[in-house]
């Protein structure tokens, strides 16, 4: 077993280079004045943030600060929670995804999601799991499904291990493999953005490493927004970071945002500095 990387905060050097040599592309998503309320309880308030195209943006912060709530407002997942109200604007490209003429199902076919615990459909095979999103969206042609499945499984670094057993049950895979299957499933419908909610928190270090390795390559296909409570992971993997925290009224705020390098080496806000140096957590 090879040595695991040192648990030191090492800024993402590739990202630094990319940020410095290439012009900023139009953001994949933007949020303005975003707030989320569950009934009368305000949980997240007044967030303004941009998510650059083709990059990985991490949302970090102590537990309970509203990172997941923030993430789920980006693909209208809160629509499925009765009593949840989302305020503000969330733009995918130029379009406000919460505008009344846009359906949530439309949004979610363009903004995919990977969850904290792998949730493959238990009654379906590996193949059926990967293509399930395509089938849900009305694509039935075998040729397209086959091709998309292979492409997605390759992108999730799973093809070689499952190529010969595509028809077997998805539940036979290990935890890490199941999560990569879920990533493949989300990728198969070619979303513009992929939201990831602490995708490796339930996995062992090796599986975590594998998934982190493929995130870098995925940037070519999708823009990634990842929530993580592990700041070393954020430092390893992301190009940009957003740091959130709750105030005394238990309302989450975006404290600081910027390139990962800056957040970790010269944060502007003292609270950010406290968090990334481990003084609070």
């Amino acid at each position: 077993m090879s040595q695991l990387p040192m648990i030191a905060v090492r800024p993402n050097e590739m990202a630094t280079l990319a940020a410095e040599t290439q012009p900023e592309p139009q953001p994949a998503m933007q949020v303005r004045g975003l707030g989320v309320r569950f009934g009368s309880k305000l949980v997240l308030s007044d967030v303004d943030m941009s998510f650059p195209t083709g990059r990985i943006t991490a949302l970090i912060g102590p537990s309970g600060c509203g990172k997941t709530t923030f993430l789920r407002s980006l693909n209208r997942m809160h629509d499925t929670t009765p009593g949840a109200v989302v305020i503000g604007t969330v733009l995918l490209g130029d379009t406000d995804i919460y505008s009344s003429d846009i359906e949530a199902t439309q949004v979610r076919a363009r903004i995919g999601m990977v969850f904290q615990r792998a949730n493959p459909f238990p009654t379906l095979s590996i193949y059926d799991n990967v293509v399930s999103g395509l089938r849900f969206n009305g694509i039935r042609k075998r040729a397209i499904l086959d091709e998309a499945a292979e492409g997605a499984l390759r992108a999730a670094a799973l093809w070689d291990s499952v190529e010969h057993k595509l028809r077997t049950s998805a539940m036979r895979l290990s935890g890490g493999e199941q999560q990569r299957l879920c990533i493949a499933r989300a990728l198969a419908i070619e979303p513009d953005v992929l939201l990831m909610d602490e995708p490796t928190s339930a996995l062992d270090p090796i599986a975590t490493m594998r998934i982190e390795a493929l995130l870098r390559k995925l940037c070519e296909r999708v823009s990634i927004i990842i929530v993580t409570h592990n700041m070393q992971q954020a430092a390893r993997v992301s190009d940009y970071c957003g740091f959130l925290m709750v105030d005394d009224a238990r309302v989450g705020h975006l404290i600081e945002t910027g390139p990962t390098v800056s957040i970790f080496s010269k944060p502007r806000d003292s609270r950010t500095e406290d968090y990334v140096t481990g003084r609070i957590g």
């Binding site: 997942m77 009765p82 979610r108 995919g112 615990r117 459909f121 399930s132 849900f136 969206n137």
Partner: protein, 316 residues
């Protein structure tokens, strides 16, 4: 196995403590055995009383189609058929309605109206079966005679005079009685499907119906079958409501509108007048047959429902 002396109490007191606990456990275990014994006694006592008639009729008891106490000929096949057919009709009607209602209550209805509506459906289960029987005989039967059955007599399997009472009405009443079972079991199972499974479908751009059809229903399929089998068990053993409306004919029913008899209604109708040789014993044999069928069906149901709830607990 003893603790060192001086750990808070004397060794003697500790030993007394353990004895008290052991006696307590023994007493409760004995009670458990008594309870098991009671139900074993149910089966055994019926079987003992049924034995003479079973010996007298032999295997012809279950396969014979003639039930003639005067000639001491006892064959319960017509009643087995009657029992199975009424239950089958009940299932055919209750399954789609029960599952459909459960889907609505669990997935579509806002919580504020789902709760009272659910209570209303469950109230169906609390109504005593004699009340169902009374309503069936005095309210539904006349409606069946006048409105429901005449158009049905055109169908090949529903020939015969429109009497109101008979196979169809009994099946309909049973359907109403087992509806709450199917709805309640399905609802419970659906609400225990973890949110993550539903969100997987939403996350891929699925509609709410796709969530229900592709994520929720497949994961509870086995449990729903268990609930259906459980409902079947109830339908098979139901006596009073059926006795009111079954029509009391000892022939194998040849039509949906025909009067017939189930094992349970047979016993209810004839037992107090059973004076011929072997008659009472034969009725008890019919009870044994009914008991065996009910036991098998109920055991199957419990195994199915248990396996699903165990799976949910392990993966949830």
């Amino acid at each position: 196995m003893s603790l060192p002396v001086g750990v808070g109490r004397s060794a003697g007191a500790l030993r007394r403590l353990r004895l008290g606990d052991r006696a307590y456990r023994r007493a409760l275990q004995a009670l458990g055995l008594v309870v098991l014994g009671i139900f074993a006694a149910v089966g055994v006592s019926l079987f003992v009383q049924a034995w003479p008639a079973l010996v007298h009729s032999g295997p012809g008891f279950v396969t014979g189609t003639t039930w003639d106490p005067n000639k001491a000929i006892y064959g319960v096949l017509p009643f087995i058929v009657g029992t199975l057919l009424t239950s089958a009709i009940a299932l055919v009607l209750a399954i789609p309605i029960g599952i459909g209602a459960a889907i609505f209550l669990s997935e579509y209805a806002p919580r504020r109206i789902a709760a009272p509506l659910g209570v209303l459906v469950e109230l169906l289960a609390a109504v005593p079966s004699v009340v169902y029987g009374l309503w069936g005989l005095l309210v539904l039967a006349p409606i069946f005679v006048s409105t429901v059955e005449p158009p049905l007599t055109q169908l090949p399997f529903a020939r015969g005079p429109a009497l109101g009472v008979g196979l169809l009405l009994a099946g309909v009443i049973l359907a109403v009685m087992i509806l709450p079972t199917i709805t309640a079991v399905t609802r419970d199972l659906m609400s225990s499907v973890p949110a993550a499974t539903r969100e997987a479908v939403y996350g891929l751009g699925g509609t709410r119906w796709q969530v229900v059809r592709r994520a929720v229903l497949p994961s509870v399929r086995v449990g729903i079958i268990g609930g259906v089998v459980l409902a079947l068990g109830r339908a098979l053993g139901e006596t009073m409501a059926v006795t009111f409306v079954i029509g009391n004919s000892n022939q194998i029913p040849r039509s949906l509108l025909a009067p017939t008899q189930t094992l349970a209604s047979l016993i209810a109708n004839e037992f107090t007048e059973a004076t011929e040789p072997f008659h009472a014993s034969a009725l008890l044999s019919a009870a044994v047959v009914l008991l065996v069928i009910a036991l098998l069906v109920n055991t199957l149901a419990r195994l199915l429902v248990w396996s699903v709830s165990r799976e949910m607990r392990e993966t949830g």
